[in-house]
Symmetry: D4
Subunit: 214 residues, 8 copies
């Protein structure tokens, strides 16, 4: 039943990847079997939880390089990594790290090195200021924050770099679904900031790759 | 049909005031006539637009001290102003000023002097830093912001003062109703910040008065 | 990966604390190890459920004073408690108690004694009236209520004290997420009431502390 | 194009009425002409604003008993009024009066006398307590409130009468559409309170009539 | 910590009951122990799931008359049942039955007999028409429906009885939370229908009791 | 700047039409001038209000067959009408007629005759039953309703015909935007009913045409 | 307590079916026992998860033809299948397949053959174009998509066939509940597309059957 | 009261601009007077409607280069335009043009040439395919669409360029506020697409400038 978009890479310079969230383990097993027999390209699996990974067939998992903290798995080869860290992945809090790791693994898969600058939320502004020069040395900035996502406007006013924000679903009450962080980013008073879907570290990495590889 | 809560001031140290928004001009005329004949206390009218003010009976307006920019009118005497500016009213942008003025007029009516510190949004962080010491000299801080309200978290991390935030309905798209600013404030990563309803400069002033007069 | 804001207390008189909700047990273990080795300040952990607490390393838990009913843990020393109960924590129902206890433990950590006045919802108005004088003796009132939060407006009309309301996520149907209680508080007909995020007993305690310690 | 439900009164003891809000003036003119020529029953028109009334054909308006403050018009005869005031219509504020008047006019059309008890919101609790005995003498209570609608829970805990609440769209920010008042009523901590749509004074009157006429 | 409203019955003819949903088993045990030692009145417990019931202390459960299908338990004596079925409880589908049973048990506790007329949704209109005369013999009608709740408008146009609708959270997609059924009822084209919160069979029963006992 | 999809008719048997709502009068003038000079096909303009029509250039309006009640205009020739009324357009109330007329005009433009059956809402069930046989003689049924849209489920249980529902934005409070009617239709307990966007009479007509012309 | 609508098939050509989602296993057992003893018609059970199926009485399951992947079970005989595949069921992604299978099983139960065309989402447009002629050979198209559901507008512009879209609840962040896919379909720029509730493969199949069997 | 962020350009390579929407004409006049006397940098005014422009002081307007169709005005000099069109601004429909023009004017102000490719929505897919090569020659693509915004996923699967989407508030019913278009873009099945606030052509232009000028 599966139809891969194998020439996607030729069209958009990004290979197809597999979002595991709404797929059952048998579906994923079938996809892997299909890929192994028909293609030698590397493929990235995202949102693959430890629980679902444990349900996969050993015939599948033996081909995967799985990382539980980011929920990602690689099948086959990644691209060779270019020299120099090109993307700064900045997080407001420790709880935002899984999304940061998803972005970092995706970039690595695409051959792009990235540096995570964690835990520099603006309630303690000096933490961000201390790392600002390092952040500004990167070609693209991915900034990851939940709750009020205030770091996005502050950092957006301190850098001229292209900046892609990722709202996260951390917090509780009005912030728990990530909608507040998302809207806060969209309404940012700093000009020229863009965003992707809530918790979408993968998408932010692809957007950064479009800029770097274009 | 009108029933005033004349002893409110004795119970909660705040006199009753009149929210004009959903009242017709004849209703407001009737309230004023009633007040003039039964009480000598000062009364504050809020959300009284220029258009509605123009529809009032001259017999009413002759008793009012009206200020169009804040949409407020005073009937009778305000309390004498205490010495020294007690409240800093900080705004992120120029568009937030009408709400700031509503707060300032309300405090003035309650006998409390306040200073407006306008246009110090965090897209240009130095503007806030430049005024920080002045802001911190006040007993209470009211901070007024629309859109992403990022200034609230930043200022909340730079002051130990009680801080009351007012989200405003400025902006467009996801920010136009003030709901994004409100949720952003509620989800702030800085601890101990409180909020009132969208555009509610009057309420923030009353909350500040509860702290100062308590 | 963790970056503490150790001088937060100097800036805002409130020490940094750790929100455990979106952190995995290993993340929390790492934070505790880091804190023990680098600081002798007391740190408060909030939203630490019994389940997650049970997953922590004994090397972590041996340093914690954990209270399951409020979901809080203390690492190191609290401040010495000032004399006299300064904050009245009023709840509408029994179901609101866990949030009340989070507020009380936070205040205790900050050196402030607080009294819980439970189960005085306005469906039986006499219960609140019976305790009113006692409540009014405190410098600050925290009122905690879910569903329609009607107690907030009633109590707000009976006290001149600064009042911080906390909506809770109790109830079902339209009330279950706490949004109805939150909006009800924001729309309160009593003047000068402020609010914090849904279920945020910690935030209300910090706001009370800003008033008392300022 | 109009099809009247002339035997509705036989089935449900309530005659059909005409909601004018989404109808153009020519549509209403056509309905009136149709009614005059085919029926001698009284018909109530609701949500007929002064502006729309002014656009009607004089041939229509000459048959109407129009009341601008409630936005209602009567065509033909009302039922004879039964002896004694059967319904107490209680409002929290002055701004809720137009909805109260719509309810009162509807009841009058159905032959039921009603008393309006206005402006007894719970921010000043004594106002409601002062009128409580009078309210409790009525067979049914309609309570009308916007914003947080806190009066509903308080009154619900003080009366054993059937109580129908009407949320209103007064206020601003989170209260302006009436959704907060509606949800607050639905989540009331007082048992056995029912509600109708926002601003629906007509519906509350019909519900009261079902109880009284059943 | 528990404060009962023991004289509620004198004020509103409805005894206090205990909503178990957000209470832990130990809280409920404490409430029961408290009640047994201080009162001989009957008390109704609602939203008590089988799982939570199983966690209660045998010292508690030995005093309870528990019914799993409605999630209710009685402590002590119910009122004696009046003669004749007074309330028709009509459901659109089989899935609405648990809410119907909650209403029926509550009425029984209040001394009022009720008849459940199940599974008469309007997709097969003849089912409702077949039972219409029987339904109309009751003094009050409670109608319970999820999804589009279309039965409410249809039945409302076929009966002159007071009618209390209960939206349920059955269905999926746009109907799963019960908000669609609730709004549909509030917007009903049949006049004089009232509603209570989603799934609130208890509240509908209390509203019916207010009418019958008033 | 305008790019017509002239071969749309070949692909999908429906010609392109022009949605005027968000276009300025000069934009529409430019579109008409462009069409007149490049094509001899008939084109339908929808959501063209009287106000906007009055702002058009006489050079434009001289080519249009405009109907204010449905807000539609025809440029050039319609298709010849097929024999026999193929579509029944059923409305719950008089206020739904403008949407019905938009559907009827669209079908006429596509060469399909349709009959409007107005004002047969289910609060008076006999009105629908009286017209049922006539309705069932048509190949496709379009049913148009606002508020709770209860007619949709009732009619869906009485006909085997393909049925396309159109929610309308009539009513007030929870029904005013049409979202309640839309969700009610989507949650209908009658099987196999489909829907289109709120007030989208044009879309329902096109869907009916796809069935009839396929 | 169960009341079947056995003559539904005569009225609307679709037999009644049983939505299992909100029914307990004992309720379903009772329904099956009732059906076996009173009817010989085939009945379809939908949304019957493996977990719930496992809880059914063997006396029930012995009569069911259960398919876990679509969550459907057949009791008794299906209609004989007509010749030729009449419906194309098109899915954007692999995750949409369970909804596609529910539609296919429902059509099979109604005697209509259908072909699933899976995984042709528009991110790789060639996949859809490759299958377009095959799709267009069917009398009705059901298109199933979550997230942004962009395939619906694209396919709607490439076919003249009646098209019924089913939004799915796949994805995360703003797409997880299916509301984005639903609204996207309702707002489609391609004319004449209809939709059903989120994940409602059963409803789409019934709508297709109304067209084919009418 | 106005505080400009004059050194913003040095920090982020984008000069400050003035959002006129929530500012009164006198506020804008004051801003212009202030700018003329203190700075010689060019400043862009956005969301300046013809109505508000007409209310400005001639002393203000004499310094402005105003364009009504995009609602923008320039004060002082723009940057010199770089050679070659760098940005393709693609719109789905004619109604999206004002947002496209806002983006184009902003880019021009920043010294970057841009080409508008209008009216290539995917209901007629050939229109986009016809312009694809031209679009792909630009360094950055801005794509502007309302309603279902399906063009975003399609174009995202056909280009490797950085792509910034702008949802617009065109359409009616579920699409009128632009929220459906926004969510649709965020949920796009094409990887690496970013977005800005609804109707925010200015923000998209700034984001494109960050990429080109970085």
């Amino acid at each position: 039943m599966i139809k891969f978009d194998h020439n996607r890479e030729d069209r958009i310079k990004l290979p197809e990847s597999v979002l595991c969230q709404d797929k059952t383990a048998p579906m994923i097993d079938e996809i892997i079997a299909n890929l192994i027999s028909t293609s030698d390209k590397g493929v990235l699996f995202t949102r693959l939880t430890s629980d679902k990974y444990a349900q996969l067939d050993p015939a599948s998992t033996s081909h995967l390089d799985y990382d539980a903290s980011s929920g990602t798995a690689l099948l086959g080869k990644s691209r060779p990594i270019q020299r120099g860290s090109k993307v700064a992945i900045v997080t407001a809090g420790t709880s935002d790290l899984p999304v940061a790791w998803e972005a970092q693994r995706t970039l690595q898969f695409l051959g792009i090195a990235a540096t995570v600058v964690a835990d520099v939320g603006v309630a303690g502004l000096w933490r961000l200021q201390e790392r600002l020069d390092e952040i500004n040395e990167h070609a693209v900035i991915i900034v990851i924050a939940g709750m009020d996502a205030a770091i996005v406007s502050v950092l957006g006013g301190l850098t001229h770099r292209p900046m892609i924000a990722v709202p996260t679903s951390t917090g509780y009450g009005v912030s728990a679904q990530g909608q507040t962080a998302l809207n806060s980013i969209l309404a940012s008073c700093s000009p020229g900031i863009t965003t992707v879907n809530i918790d979408n570290g993968y998408g932010a990495a692809c957007a950064a790759a479009r800029i770097i590889l274009s």
